[in-house]
Symmetry: C2
Subunit: 354 residues, 2 copies
DNA sequence: ATGAAAGCGCTAACAA
DNA sequence: TTGTTAGCGCTTTCAT
């Protein structure tokens, strides 16, 4: 049941303006006021609406969210769920930040609220949905295997950057295969014949698998030999990129260009290469993925496959709202996943092979 | 009353395990179960506790948060409030991210939840507190003037990076004056006699004012002439830093070192200087503030005054929980603000004057 | 140590 | 168009 937080007293019943106060003043029933406050104005005469609204404003009415949630079995809350790892902390990546912050904005404008919650065990997802009468769930940074394991019913679920097969979940991601292609094509076009793909370990065709597939395909189409398109597993951090950069010459002496699956990684890679006495793009070309601000801050700037984050966030929000307001219950199958376009941002870290 | 989000149907009353189900099974009253579930175990016999807990686990009981909030007038929710600007979006800075993400972790472990909410008007703060029966509020990125304007009563309020005078609010921030001193002393020690402070416009002695005061004091103590410690207003972004870097030579020909109040700004500054043909630290030394990862990614690395973010987050969480569990109502004055230590991280962007 | 009664503020369903 | 009735699932208070 999770940790309990109590042991201290209740709070004094607050002095609060409630529907019945407005109803009394206006000489109407509570239900009429309720209908007005909820925009169900078809059921109320314009005159009454105006009167009720005026009184509500004068009294400073603020709806009681828990009461509304309890009675209606829906909360107007969408939870942003993020798996917590070892360190137990969340909101690590700039990408996640953009998603959560952006969705809050979209949802707020439509009268919804965002609960931010770290998930320690799979069960907590369903528990959170039930316990809060959630209207929807956004899964951020969940690995596909975990998304597939989840059993959530009755609420729309949108998973960011997921290719999971779970039919109850709508994946919203960038076109990772195309992104890989762009990177591969760019490097091949620059003349590189020995290239390296650097990304985290993966199973199946998720985000990373697709980037690799697209990258490889584009390279082969451009005439590179299969053996000359290598892949190297590294974690997605500046530090891991730096380490790879330091030993790149030794471990991959023939390679003249690297595609890193994240800007952080790519920037670390550039730093490591520089530290080892190499130059970018003189000795090695580097291309990243994401299009974070970060990629403009380095010297040289990082050429990268940029995701359209605002579009991704907008799309995720749109789908979420659409499904909520369509009252997607236990029944209807989730809609089709969405892949958003990517494009190459040229900044200077790609040049001809040495 | 804000936008309304309805017009579509209610949801089916979910099949839910409730306290009364457990009570029936266990042959005890609902209250006993409630007491067990809330850890008020002093009031229940060990045997009963065990039995109830077993049944609850078997049935898969999940507490209904809205019901509990409604009845108890407290929600176990702490809202992280962030003012929204023109773009209406939030969670922009890495700093905010660290705060919100970190607090979620701390609070979750104590049984609390985090509601993330953008604030458009001052009123929304008090409304959110009432409407949700919030247990606490964290203000992030609120300017001091706004914090002082807020009228929140009955719940603990912690404001990050605030020096506001509002007695109901506990400020948690780094020791900005000391941070300014560290920067000034470092530049002076390197031999610089003409230095520039670059930061956003400010009124009164907030974060920026204190950094400036500390910087100036340290410079003067080190023997610089008052006229040679200039201040320049720029917004806190990479782009604004870059622009300043581009025109630095023209606008401030005598200046040999710059203290920028944020790493983003400083990194942009370095980029601008490089773009204009200058070198860091050869022509101009640069020192930043924050200690973001970012500062390690540049070439040269950015010397910066680092904040202890984990400590800041831990402290803010600690104070929040302490005040909640002390039942800080309308009465008690808020406790003393907290300033956390800072330290200099040397990376290479500071050298002797040209 | 345990229970009974009452109600938190709101909405669904039905009636008028 | 408006009102009435009956809860939602839980906690409080007061009794036993």
């Amino acid at each position: 049941m999770g940790p309990t937080a109590d042991e201290e007293g209740p709070r004094d019943p607050p002095v609060t303006v409630k529907l019945s106060d407005i109803a009394d003043e206006a000489g109407v029933s509570v239900m009429t006021v309720s209908n007005v406050m909820n925009g169900k104005r078809a059921k109320v005469s314009p005159a009454t609406i105006e009167r009720v609204l005026a009184i509500a404003a004068r009294l400073g009415y603020v709806p009681n969210i828990p009461a509304r949630s309890l009675a209606a079995h829906r909360s107007h809350i969408v939870a942003a769920l993020v798996p917590v790892g070892e360190n137990n902390s969340l909101l690590v990546s700039p990408h996640t930040v953009a998603v959560v912050g952006g969705m809050e904005t979209h949802l707020r404008h439509r009268g919804y609220h965002v609960l931010l919650r770290g998930i320690e065990h799979d069960d907590q997802v369903a528990q959170t949905v039930r316990g809060w009468s959630l209207d929807g769930v956004v899964l951020v940074e969940f690995p596909d295997e975990q998304v597939d394991r989840l059993e959530v019913a009755g609420v729309p679920v949108v998973a960011i950057d997921s290719y999971a097969a779970n039919p109850r979940v709508v994946g919203v991601r960038s076109d990772d295969h195309e992104g890989g292609r762009l990177a591969g094509a760019r490097l091949a076009a620059a003349g590189h014949r020995r290239v390296l793909f650097a990304g985290p370990p993966y199973r199946g065709m998720g985000v990373v698998g697709r980037r690799w597939a697209g990258f490889r395909a584009a390279c082969l189409e451009a005439g590179l030999r299969a053996d000359d398109v290598e892949a190297r597993e590294v974690l997605t951090s500046f530090e891991d990129g730096r380490r790879l950069g330091l030993r790149l010459r030794r471990d991959h002496p023939q390679v003249t260009a690297v595609f890193a699956t994240a800007d952080h990684l790519a920037v670390g890679l550039m730093a490591g290469i520089a530290e080892a006495g190499g130059s970018v793009p003189g000795d090695v070309s580097v291309i990243g993925f994401d299009g974070l601000d970060l990629s403009a801050y380095t010297t040289p700037g990082l050429t990268t496959v940029a995701q359209d984050m605002p579009a991704k966030v907008a799309e995720a929000s749109r789908i979420m709202l659409e499904q909520i307001e369509a009252g997607r219950g236990l029944d209807a199958p989730a809609r089709e996943p969405v892949s958003l376009g990517v494009h190459l941002v040229e900044r200077g870290s790609v040049g001809p092979p040495r």
